[in-house]
Symmetry: C2
Subunit: 112 residues, 2 copies
């Protein structure tokens, strides 16, 4: 699956920077206008815009301009590719623990 | 939490390379000796060793030498830092869907 691998490359590279992760963390709460996103960082606006472009190219965020205000949002399902890859890496022991956890949750639900 | 952020930087950078991800995918199944790890890649051994060093520095793998054979393992909990970060980014809508899922699983368990 080369497309999936390229997507993973782009997402992981985009997230391997603490400023870009902080932007994603902020947008996971709600969309934000660019000036509000810039506020917590002591960073020139062009630098922030460059980080936003990397996030947009990786498919992590989308943005829309209304008049002079650009609003940035986390793309729904943006991190799915990473969730999927991580799930695939669960070791046999971890899968066993997961099944046991589901079993115990169900047994517990029956008791209550 | 600067240490957590540094760890995330290193893990994400290490995983943003398809060869290193393939090594992690292989090691998630079981530990492997270096020559077996090298086999599926048309890559000189020194290049593979360099990828392994990046993975080791990021805390993703450990290796042990017995005689002339080096065995590489995925470090238990190696990907926890990434699971943790991803969980923190769940949007309010996703958290709501999770709670609904747990509720339905429990309701279903009661019915059976």
């Amino acid at each position: 699956m080369p497309k999936y691998q390229d997507e993973l490359d782009a997402v992981l590279r985009a997230l391997a920077d603490p400023t870009r992760r902080a932007v994603v963390e902020r947008l996971a709460r709600s969309p934000a206008v660019v000036s509000d996103l810039a506020a917590p960082f002591s960073m020139a606006l062009p630098s922030l815009m460059q980080h936003l472009r990397v996030l947009e190219n990786a498919g992590l965020v989308t943005s829309e301009k209304h008049g002079r205000v650009r609003t940035v949002s986390l793309r729904p399902g943006a991190l799915d590719v990473l969730h999927l890859w991580l799930d695939e890496q669960r070791t046999p022991a971890e899968r066993h623990a997961d099944r046991l956890g589901i079993h115990l949750t169900r047994a517990n639900a029956k008791d209550t």
